[in-house]
Point group: D2
Chain length 332, copies 4
Amino acid sequence: MDVVEIVPTFEQYAFTFGGGAPLRRIQPGTALRLWSDDAFCGALRSVKDLSSEKVDLRYVNPQTGPFYVEGAEPGDTLALHLVALEPARDFGASATIPFFGGLTSTDRVVTLQDALPDTTWIYELDRAKNTVTFVAAHSELAVELPVEPMLGTVGVAPPGGEVRSSLVPERFGGNMDTPQMRAGTTCFLGVNVEGALFSIGDGHYRQGEGEACGTAVEGAMTTTLIVELVKGGAPAWPRLEDDTHWMTVGSSRPLEDAWRIGQAELVHWFGELYGLHPMDAYQLLSQITEVPIANVVDANYSAVVKARKSLLPSASAYGGLHAELRSRARSL
Amino acid sequence: MDVVEIVPTFEQYAFTFGGGAPLRRIQPGTALRLWSDDAFCGALRSVKDLSSEKVDLRYVNPQTGPFYVEGAEPGDTLALHLVALEPARDFGASATIPFFGGLTSTDRVVTLQDALPDTTWIYELDRAKNTVTFVAAHSELAVELPVEPMLGTVGVAPPGGEVRSSLVPERFGGNMDTPQMRAGTTCFLGVNVEGALFSIGDGHYRQGEGEACGTAVEGAMTTTLIVELVKGGAPAWPRLEDDTHWMTVGSSRPLEDAWRIGQAELVHWFGELYGLHPMDAYQLLSQITEVPIANVVDANYSAVVKARKSLLPSASAYGGLHAELRSRARSL
Amino acid sequence: MDVVEIVPTFEQYAFTFGGGAPLRRIQPGTALRLWSDDAFCGALRSVKDLSSEKVDLRYVNPQTGPFYVEGAEPGDTLALHLVALEPARDFGASATIPFFGGLTSTDRVVTLQDALPDTTWIYELDRAKNTVTFVAAHSELAVELPVEPMLGTVGVAPPGGEVRSSLVPERFGGNMDTPQMRAGTTCFLGVNVEGALFSIGDGHYRQGEGEACGTAVEGAMTTTLIVELVKGGAPAWPRLEDDTHWMTVGSSRPLEDAWRIGQAELVHWFGELYGLHPMDAYQLLSQITEVPIANVVDANYSAVVKARKSLLPSASAYGGLHAELRSRARSL
Amino acid sequence: MDVVEIVPTFEQYAFTFGGGAPLRRIQPGTALRLWSDDAFCGALRSVKDLSSEKVDLRYVNPQTGPFYVEGAEPGDTLALHLVALEPARDFGASATIPFFGGLTSTDRVVTLQDALPDTTWIYELDRAKNTVTFVAAHSELAVELPVEPMLGTVGVAPPGGEVRSSLVPERFGGNMDTPQMRAGTTCFLGVNVEGALFSIGDGHYRQGEGEACGTAVEGAMTTTLIVELVKGGAPAWPRLEDDTHWMTVGSSRPLEDAWRIGQAELVHWFGELYGLHPMDAYQLLSQITEVPIANVVDANYSAVVKARKSLLPSASAYGGLHAELRSRARSL
């Protein structure tokens, strides 16, 4: 199986979902190996590089894409199976951008207080150990942390002619910032426009749930993925599947509404998977869901709702596509 | 080490935090073995028992307590180490109480829609297999689920002369409804009144994160715990420790504020544990926290913020009390 | 008609709803003339008196009461008709208490930022002009503003044995902080306990909607009111009536839930007043309600939902009690 | 002064802010007389026309525009002065669209409950009396209500290449749904793209604050307005001025964040108008603002924050442009 390799130039970066010309047209079934820049467009390379000086907030969270998937029509389901995520630089960067993050006032949670100190942390990558190292900036501590690569942002073009910033998570996916978006996961997204026009970006070498300070260990990433198309069956909100869990992602404000979206979407999915009445799915999921918060910092907040397959009778979604993609991935 | 056994009568049940006379006065260091009724006061015993007919909503979530801890003064820290939780009946019950729960309008999220169907599910307990069985009420499915006992409610009397319903989670603990409140966990609560006046209840044979439908697999429980007192050091919000994680619990509305409380409390705790500046703790925790939602159904919503000890240098809180209590628990 | 005058001593101040012994037992129909201290217990008398130094946050928002109304039983409706509100000192005070207010992080909306400057503003009262004067503290401006006296806090004891801080607005009334609570208004509250146990306090010489900085022009107040009792008919949430409007007050978090509560309560009230189906009341009110925010700073936020009587056919609530009380007030 | 009249065809309707070619290029100073269709594109003309059958939700809230204003550049301030709003049909329509509105679950506030009854109300317009008549659909009542025409939607193209649905209120204005957007009001919007690309629509013959059921008395409208351009000075959020008030509009979720945005924007505006330090503006506005909720039903909620000019020293914004436009309007 061939793998199409793409390394975009800065001019090719996409900063929106929708609105841009396709970077490439591909057939369903294609495997891609995509380089993506970090959320800062690589502007933070030293602890002396402060976000307020080096980062142009009009050009953040660059996406690699969009890709036009031949045959994709509104109402179809796009499946993106993440095969491998590999750090593409030797360091990751994180920063407390003024008035951005979860424990600061923001342009939405407006107060009259001063901003927190604009600080940059550089996490050196040790490829042998597969670690990144936190080094305190205002005190004394260094901690090696395992690399756990993920993509903050995976999405398709929105419906209704909208064009949305790559910073926003929504029905169309986007900047969900969940650690679940990692190698081994298949992401199902409803197609809204001809060709789907998906893109990916915002690699994180690791991220805590919530992405509290607003930025993860941001790093350029090389992502290998397989693209598939299911005719029809578009889910209302992003669905994820890996070998162990059925998952949905809701994104809105306040955070309880993001959760409600995800929990209800999983109720509906359980209706499809197990023939359950919504009240029974509601009940069963009340006793088994895991609900890790994804982000509490973006334009919408995101919550993931998960059900562990091992607790449940066997079932398959989208014709067993996830298992098939896992198999195909092994032969790449 | 002796264990004091207490099985309260219905008349002894407490339905508030604060406001009641102590059930018993105990010395710090005491081990207790407490029976607690389920959140319905045992009113739901068959799928024909509907909550709207059988449950008196003025008397729900009964607590066993309060206990007056000798020597406890405002500003002190009460440590409750959960040694064992054992189902005390052969079934658990769950119900969709009209206008209560996460995927229904409520007395707070008010709409003009009709209530969801009032339904009761009974989960038979198989002690040999250590499972409870979900049986669908409106469709066809039965699923055996592992028993994972937890306490929905652990709290002390609030400050300022307040008396609060046992349904509310707050600074003083209360109805946090997190699966983390299980055997092996130590819960640290700030003392607000002489004697602390703690109580426990709301046993769940298992519960999903979020407690989506408003009720878990509710069951009478026998809880073995050890009570300790640390002079001073009262945390602003509940802190939990087990062998693997440092944890905090925030409770408020909207849900992002519950998270903010928990995340900031863990930032402050990391200042104590590792000497970290708040900005550095904010950064480090942004990359490592796990944030399972606890409940999105109670009078306040609750979120748990966790940091895995194995990622961090060794540290000890409250003089290593958790480890010591684990040790004492083994000799019970 | 006699008027009972009461000026409490500091020791008689109530700081909770529920939990205290009655200050006085009164018969329905009684007129009271009550002195209440300001929310700071009079601690701020000069711009040099800073809240962080002078105000003991355990003793704020003192209430005059509670009053035991003979014959009041749970399920009854307490009517409090405000006849006159007169400033009882020659100045009012306002302050930006650290981490309290609407444009600052708080103990709920937690951030890691520094507090805003703790500042006190003193508003001198000119009784002849009926004005208070704003004088800028950090810049140059003085503005005379009309006195528009109101009570921030009017409430009864909560149900379920709860005792709640006088800082909280809830179903039982409490710290709603709406400028609508002024002379000429009748407030209807559901009775939860024998005797109702109402109290009042938190006089404001004037307040903007939202009470943005957390404190109004706080001032000691002399309030004349008439107390009446309606058997049965307890509203779920506070209802207000004056000569021009039907009003409800909802209190919760987030603010949209406070609004939902108020809007739905007015839908239900319109069912009683005009025999309207809920869908028709929902529709009609969608076209006529005025919705001034009351507070976005207290433990719950409050929104007022109003319908102008002059737009509507004539109707009467509680047997025309408001009009009757207006009449009685004129003869005091 | 000439007035340019425009009546768009259906094909010319805009359903987004940004993304469309200009309908017309105009010079600053131009007066326009614009016909706009109602939010349903005229699909509801009888109480038998149900929204679920007649309204295509992909084509709602049509805008008349966009207009390219010669010389407008990012950072400039567009001033739109509303001269006159005249109902352009003899009836208005309102409806409870399934899962849309404030007292129902929605696609964001998700529950598992059934939708409210899909109902349409037609309000006949009496031009002589200047009234529209509410007629109950599920019960018996008819009420004549004064016509108070307003525009639900006024906005410019967003920044960052975004294209947003005309249903969304945001920094760029849009679907704010405030009754303040009426004849006599000047709306100041920050320009984000060359030409500003503003449009208007969503006429309401009247609307209650909050727009509770999700739709006002929706009606085709003829709007006369004057367009002006101020170089520089772009406000962060929409500002309104009429003869009596300074006003700002914040839009976000939850509703308290919409309020925070508006309140802080007015604090900053008062810094410009009166030279006040932010803390002093915060204090002064805390005592005088009026805060009518605009909408609690759209993709973002909106709150208006107002300060009455008569309480304040005289001041002028944007070189006294509002007064000048009022004067010009009289000569149209």
